[in-house]
């Protein structure tokens, strides 16, 4: 059966020549890239739904932060969050350099920037944990402030956590020789995902700490 399928087929198929395999790789990569971008777009809708919920609930109360048990809740600590944001944005920069260095075959530099990204991402999660422990807004279920803040930043934090694991797996894959200078779809996807997480944080930082 297999012989029938693989013969008489313009010579493509398994064990085709270098050019054929390269074309297959390029077309497959294009499809995976489009699929991944569409996935990120649907993820944007998920965040947008919760951001809509937050703004809608915020519009239903006369003052913000809202009242809870007769007293107004305090605002969040913008200084600490700003430092933590810089850590996350910094990791976006290091990720950019990681991918660029990989494309140019500089494996040593790649390792440095990639591991920096993973360390900065983890540091951001640590900072967020610290902030959760010290936020005086009445907890997750206390008020609509806590509900929207902890749900949205928690969802974002979960995305960062998944991203850190994703990058760690990618780094391990580079050691296993899965990618080379021109064939590195995984690294491209990882970089896209990491920048996506950054961009979402820009919106959340503005909406919760500044707005």
């Amino acid at each position: 059966m297999a012989a029938v399928l693989h013969g008489d087929d313009h010579g493509h198929g398994h064990g085709g020549g270098f050019v054929e395999n390269e074309v297959i790789y390029q077309e497959t990569r294009d499809m995976r890239l489009l699929g991944f971008v569409l996935f990120l777009m649907s993820d944007v809708v998920l965040f947008s739904a919760f951001i809509f919920a937050y703004l809608y609930l915020r519009g239903t109360v006369p003052v913000w932060p809202p009242m809870m048990n007769g007293t107004q809740l305090p605002r969040l600590d913008v200084a600490f969050a700003a430092v933590n944001s810089i850590v996350l944005f910094g990791s976006g920069v290091t990720m950019h350099y990681a991918l660029e260095n990989w494309k140019h075959g500089k494996r040593g530099e790649f390792d440095f920037w990639m591991l920096s990204t993973i360390v900065l991402g983890t540091a951001f999660l640590g900072g967020q944990a610290y902030e959760y422990a010290h936020a005086q807004i009445g907890g997750w279920s206390g008020s609509i402030f806590g509900a929207s803040f902890f749900t949205l930043t928690g969802m974002h934090g979960f995305h960062v956590f998944v991203g850190v694991v994703f990058l760690a797996v990618l780094w391990w894959q580079t050691k296993k020789g899965v990618y080379d200078e021109t064939h590195h779809f995984g690294l491209t996807a990882g970089t896209l995902y990491w920048h996506f997480v950054d961009v979402i944080w820009v919106a959340l930082f503005y909406l919760f700490y500044i707005f």
Binding site: G13, D30, G35, L46, A49, Y56
Partner: protein, 564 residues
């Protein structure tokens, strides 16, 4: 012959054939073949259709008597909530996208599979667990606030309401992934020469549907996640007692669920647009208008959600734009209906079972569409909201529309899917029984509603008794008529006549290969020279691997074949 040169250019993914798996599990259970996955969706979807249909009959048994002697109010609430949820998420959406979309769409664009076969398998395998989770909620107290599950009632509902959230969330993820998969497939894997304006209309419908499910479903996932965590952890989103807003749910829910209406109907439009030209032996009238109107409906679908909330207390000045935008949806829909009717005009019509359901679809869907325009008008909606008029309206668009579309598609593509013919006489009996009993069931609901009978009640005013009994008896006939379909299917599988590649004389690519299609679909991917619907002209394909179909294609010199 610019296209001919493109066929010889390397198109490696298209020409790349994987060997067929040989183990039972990889072939029939965890298969990554779009055709097997499509059949899996259809089988599971039809099983859920039977369960959801029986729930509907329970509703009708209850309504035989004005004082409702069959169920208590609590159980009645659970039954209609589950009937609605199951029909929307476990029957219609999976059948039209996962079922027909999976089996037919890749064949129509000349592809060997969808873009991400593994993801496709993962999408399917979220579907049966979601169904078990949904129906399993009966064990611990099923949701009882209707399929829309408005808070605060849903916050106070039985424990099964949280299972409902989880089930719909799961089916939502599945639907989003399928949407992404189909969009990439259609954008990247069409046969050479198949430009956007040469795509079959069913494929156009799938593009619009895939985009809708990709964007809208994640918004529903957000709303469901919030409802779930509010129920389980007391986190305030919707509960007004804790500062939340019940209206927030309605906005988030309808931002998904209105587009979901189009997710359910657009693929049915696509099926009708394939069946009509084949059995009228005429090119579809206004191909581009029908194709673009699908996209227009999909875009408008995102801007009309608040017409479900006219009575929920919204700012009065917002009602006007939502009313006008909703009425505008009738324009692209009307374009389609005129296109279909004009296709029939002067055609040499062959009333097969599929064609009967397609023509029946035009009648019933048009009626449902017209009542939709009534309901879009704020003053009418204020009167009819929450009555049986609404129930009549959405059963005309969802049963008379989507489900009739599914029936048409089943009769039309059954020979392609199974390689065997169904009994046409039985099929016609099925149509007439279903069409008449459908109208007898749901037509009286229009006036029941306008006279003031509210929906979702277990008991009703005795003045409505006659028409309720009439509707109930008709609905039993409707249920029985579906048995004709199931018997026909079983009979065809056991001893149906062999179908051959193209029993209906269709011209889209799926008819150019054997029935059922081989594992790899197309041994050589054909080139597409034009629209599939030009009946009377030679087939617009080059390089088909079926010699019979090949005979009808123009030769390399452009001479029409004599056989045609």
């Amino acid at each position: 012959m610019a296209v001919a040169t493109r066929t010889s250019a390397p198109h490696a993914v298209l020409d790349h054939i994987h060997p067929e798996p040989e183990s039972f599990v990889r072939k029939y259970v965890f298969s990554i073949d779009h055709k097997v996955i499509g059949i899996q969706y259809m089988v599971v979807g039809l099983i859920f259709f039977v369960i959801a249909g029986l729930l509907a009959e329970v509703i009708r048994v209850q309504l035989l008597h004005p004082d409702g002697r069959f169920l208590g109010g609590e159980q009645y609430n659970q039954v209609y909530s589950m009937h609605g949820s199951a029909m929307v998420w476990l029957v219609i959406i999976p059948l039209v996208t996962g079922g027909f979309g999976n089996f037919i769409m890749p064949l129509m664009i000349g592809a060997r599979d969808v873009a991400f076969p593994w993801l496709n398998m993962a999408s399917f395998w979220m579907f049966p667990p979601a169904g078990l989770l949904l129906f399993g909620s009966f064990l611990i107290g099923a949701p009882d606030a209707g399929w829309t599950e408005y808070p605060p009632i849903s916050l106070l509902g039985p424990p099964g309401t949280s299972m409902w959230c989880a089930a719909i969330f799961l089916i939502g993820i599945s639907s989003t992934l399928t949407g992404i998969n189909f969009l990439v497939t259609i954008l990247k894997m069409r046969a050479p020469g198949m430009t956007f304006t040469r795509m079959p209309l069913f494929v156009w419908a799938q593009v619009a549907t895939a985009a809708l499910s990709m964007v809208a479903t994640t918004a529903l996932a957000g709303a469901l996640a919030a409802l779930f965590i509010e129920r389980q952890f007391g986190v305030p989103f919707y509960d007004p007692a804790k500062g939340g807003s019940p209206l927030l749910w309605q906005h988030m829910f309808w931002f998904y669920s209105h587009p979901a209406v189009y997710i359910m109907i657009l693929p049915a439009f696509g099926i009708i647009s394939e069946v009509l030209p084949t059995f009228a032996r005429k090119p579809i009238f206004g191909y581009k208008m029908i194709a673009f109107s699908s996209v227009a409906i999909a875009l408008l679908g995102f801007m009309v959600w608040a017409h479900h909330m006219f009575t929920s207390g919204m700012v009065p000045w917002l009602q006007l734009p939502f009313m006008i935008l909703t009425m505008i949806v009738a324009i692209p829909t009307g374009v389609k209906i005129f296109g279909w009717v004009a296709t029939l005009w002067g055609g040499s019509i062959h009333f097969s079972s599929a064609m009967l359901f397609a023509v029946g679809f035009i009648l019933t869907f048009t009626l449902g569409g017209i009542t939709g325009v009534y309901l879009a008008a704020v003053p009418v909606d204020l009167h009819a909201h929450g009555t049986y008029f609404i129930v009549a309206h959405f059963h005309y668009v969802l049963f008379g529309g989507s489900v009739f579309g599914i029936f048409a598609g089943l009769y039309y593509w059954w020979p392609k899917i199974t390689g065997r013919m169904m009994n046409e006489t039985l099929g016609k009996w099925h149509f007439w029984a279903a069409f008449i009993s459908f109208n007898c069931t749901f037509l009286p609901m229009h006036w029941l509603g306008l006279l003031g009978m509210p929906r979702r009640v277990a008991v009703y005013d005795p003045q409505f008794t006659f028409w309720n009994q009439f509707a109930s008896v008709s609905s039993f006939v409707l249920a029985a008529s579906t048995l004709l379909l199931f018997y026909n299917m079983a009979n065809s599988l056991a001893r149906g006549k062999k179908a051959g590649p193209n029993p209906w004389g269709g011209r889209t690519l799926e008819w150019m290969i054997s029935s059922p299609p081989p594992y790899y679909n197309f041994k050589k991917v054909p080139a597409v020279l034009g629209l599939p619907y030009d009946f009377g002209n030679p087939l617009p394909y080059l390089g088909l691997d079926n010699p019979q179909a090949e005979a009808a294609t123009p030769s390399q010199t452009g001479q029409p074949a004599a056989a045609h």
